[in-house]
Amino acid sequence: MEMQGVILKEDARYPSLLKKISKDAPLQLYYKGEWDEQIFENCLAVVGSRQMTSYGKRVVERVVTGVASAGITIVSGFMYGVDATAHKMALLAGGRTIAVMPCGIDLIHPEYQLDLYTEILKNKGLIISEYEGKTQPVTWTYPRRNRIVAGLSQATLVVEAGEKSGSLITANLARKFKRKIFSVPGPIFSETAKGTNQLIKTGAEMVFSEKDILNFYKIPCFNFEEKKTIINNSGSILEKQIMEYLQREPLEIDILSRFLGIPSSKLGANLSLMEMKGLIEQDNGKYYLC
């Protein structure tokens, strides 16, 4: 039932962008799913830390959703953390996504992401690997895999990366292949932003929203930037105050209650209601603007 096969480098269907990396291009690509050349037309590699923070998660949620719904294929490495979230968000946005495996085509790695694996295939996505059968993933296959991720894509987006993150390998490969690099800035104290900030310093383009990326692909974008208007709309004075604080940075309830001088019991009730209205959301103890 499942479509699968192998495409050799000489094959006309071999992705042209990948072929351009010449000697680095894999000799053959094993794949699962439906091989449809359209999928390779506009590709964005999304890479980042396995230890994704809630900031990273929110970035992926926002940016990938915007990009994928505009028809750009999201390419990533199927690892947990940023990779998996990027695949997921692409699927949720109704977009297509390609997962490049560091192991043989018949393995699922990491295994517990089986659900995601089947979802990708179900939604006209592709699973790709240069290794046949049940080749085990080893330390050097991960960075090797990254060259395919970068090679398939016109641009690479680095969401979160520590100083020695594997995502930086992908970014460097993208640079070597003369592809565009996007990087998401983060606080200078954050461990998981050291790599991305460094990329920006050395010439990667900063990403503030999906708009930056869509511009690069020359895809017009609509209906963004309208969210801010909510603040000025309805809601009590307290709600507005809360949103003003949260606009600056995500906060825990205790800190917010100290800023506002309201006991956490009372503030909690307000926050719950605002959360249900969809004004704010809570993740790992902190509140964010939606």
Partner: protein, 514 residues
């Protein structure tokens, strides 16, 4: 010559009378035997009794001595038969009468003095409940305080054998310890920490207030150093005092397991037990060859604090399910069946991941998502279902807080919080006057329907929350219970919108969203 002395045996929390019969026969070879299912401690009392009598300057008869502990089919254990055996032997030799209405209980030291013995409280209770059958109890001085709250019973505190001999032969009478009224034993708690000593963590403190008020179970999740343990240790300071009946229940268990210190009396403060995660199942739940109460029973009417909740072996956590539901535990052995009460408030704390630093603002978590999932799944659904309040305890910067004026303003001493808790408890006592439960946390479906009527808008909010936050049916009910307690804390008859909205803050949250 045959002498009969009365004593008791404890089987679980039950007490039965035991006749200590001593026969000192002039015929036969000199011997000293104890029969009537004695355990090792009772059998060894031969040596203690003999040496103690000699040390007290009395003669130990060089005759055939037979001791029978009746009824013969009940296992006798512990060292508390030393005193009745010794005094019976002395009485047989010195030829004085011992009243049938006196109970003797206590362990002897080799020098003839009496040692602190566990179970004196249960003895006093038994003596009182048996009506006029027993009038006096002779117990070690160190343990005598335990029995002073029983009216109508004369408690004689014995220091050593010779003192008791002089009393029984009416040479020097010992005065009974005066009866102490139950209400007088109430004392103030001195918890380890006062809530006002802990800076920040306002939401967790609030959750503790709700926990204390409605005896809801609480789970705190947070990185190491966030202050979870300290907060839990401050909890006893805001718990309501034990009522007189509760106090009796708790003291029974403590007396039986020998947890009352020498000279100690009734336990008036809610127990706070924090067993380490290496505690065995028997240690936590209770049991053993002769079933003894475990930590959960020692936490009866108080708090069982399980630090590092996820580190407890799963089978041990699972065994908490039944007592959490029923409030008691029955331990069955082939020979006997004992029931120990275990109505405690569970306060658990756990790390978000194995390394503990998931989402820590400064430190980096080194766990893979699979490890995190595995770690969080260690506590089973049914156990989590029995925990009402879930809070995240964020890491705080002490320095930042100590300079923060608002943080200082929000500080409340434990006594102020307790005031509110007491009021809320009062409301609950009124509410459940005709029910078999005491607190909001114990409400079952039918009581929730009866006592937690929701206005339409409140119901609506809860329903919206149910779909927005994906609340399970059980969580749904928990939210109502918590809202009820919050309303009680505010002395509000109805559950209002803000009560429900606050309750939603304590819903179970998914830690890792991906």
């Amino acid at each position: 010559m045959l002498v009969k002395v009365k004593s008791v045996a404890h089987i679980g929390l039950e007490t039965i009378p035991v006749d200590v019969e001593v026969n000192v026969a002039n015929k036969g070879l000199p011997a000293f035997d104890i029969v009537g299912l004695p355990d090792k401690a009772v059998a060894e009392s031969k040596e203690r009794v003999k040496t103690a009598i000699l040390s007290s300057g009395m003669e130990f008869p060089n005759k055939k001595i037979t001791v029978n502990l009746a009824p013969a089919d009940v296992q006798k254990e512990g060292a508390s038969y030393d005193l009745p055996i010794a005094i019976a032997i002395i009485a047989a030799e010195s030829d004085f009468k011992i009243s049938e209405k006196s109970l003797f209980f206590g362990e002897l030291s080799l020098d003839g003095s009496l040692r602190h013995t566990k179970g004196v409280f249960l003895l006093g209770l038994f003596a009182q409940q048996s009506g006029t059958r027993f009038e006096k109890i002779f117990v070690p001085k160190d343990s005598a305080n335990e029995a002073t709250i029983f009216q109508g019973i004369k408690v004689l505190a014995i220091e050593n054998l010779s003192q008791l001999f002089l009393h029984l032969t009416s040479q020097k009478i010992i005065k009974p310890i005066p009866y102490q009224e139950l209400t007088e034993t109430r004392s103030l708690l001195t918890p380890e920490f006062d809530m006002s000593e802990i800076l920040g963590q306002e939401q967790t403190k609030r959750a503790m207030e709700i926990t204390a008020a409605g005896s809801h179970n609480l789970l705190m999740t947070g990185s190491p150093g966030a202050g979870k343990t300290m907060l839990a240790r401050a909890l006893p300071g805001i718990l309501p005092f034990l009522s007189d009946e509760e106090s009796l229940e708790v003291t029974k268990i403590y007396s039986l397991s020998g947890q009352i210190p020498a000279g100690g009396s009734l336990i008036r403060t809610p127990p706070f037990r924090s067993p380490h995660h290496s505690t065995s199942q028997v240690g936590l739940i209770g049991g053993g060859q002769r079933p003894l109460p475990g930590e959960i029973s020692l936490a009866h009417r108080g708090v069982l604090f399980l630090d590092e909740f996820n580190e407890f072996p799963r089978h041990i956590l699972e065994s908490l399910r039944q007592p959490l539901e029923d409030g008691y535990l029955t331990i069955s052995r082939s020979k006997e069946r004992v029931k120990y009460p275990a109505r405690f408030t569970l306060v658990a704390s756990s790390n978000p991941c194995p390394c503990g630093y998931l989402n820590h603002p400064k430190k980096r978590c080194i766990c893979s998502s699979q490890q995190i999932k595995k770690y969080q799944k260690k506590v089973s659904g049914p156990i989590l279902d029995r925990i009402d309040l879930h809070v995240e305890v964020p890491s705080v910067e002490i320095k930042e807080l100590s300079d923060n004026q608002k943080a200082a303003e929000f500080l409340e001493p434990s006594s102020a919080i307790r005031e509110r808790v007491l009021k809320a408890r009062k409301i609950q006592n009124q509410r459940f006057l005709n029910e078999i439960i005491f607190t909001n946390a114990e409400m079952k479906n039918e009581q929730i329907k009866k006592y937690c009527k929701l206005a339409k808008e409140v119901e609506q909010v809860l329903q919206q929350a149910g779909s927005k936050f994906q609340l399970s049916a059980r969580s749904y009910l928990k939210m109502i219970k918590i809202a009820r307690t919050i309303a009680d804390l505010e002395n509000s008859q109805d559950i209002q919108l803000n009560h429900m909205a606050e309750a939603l803050q304590y819903r179970p949250k998914n830690y890792e969203g991906i």
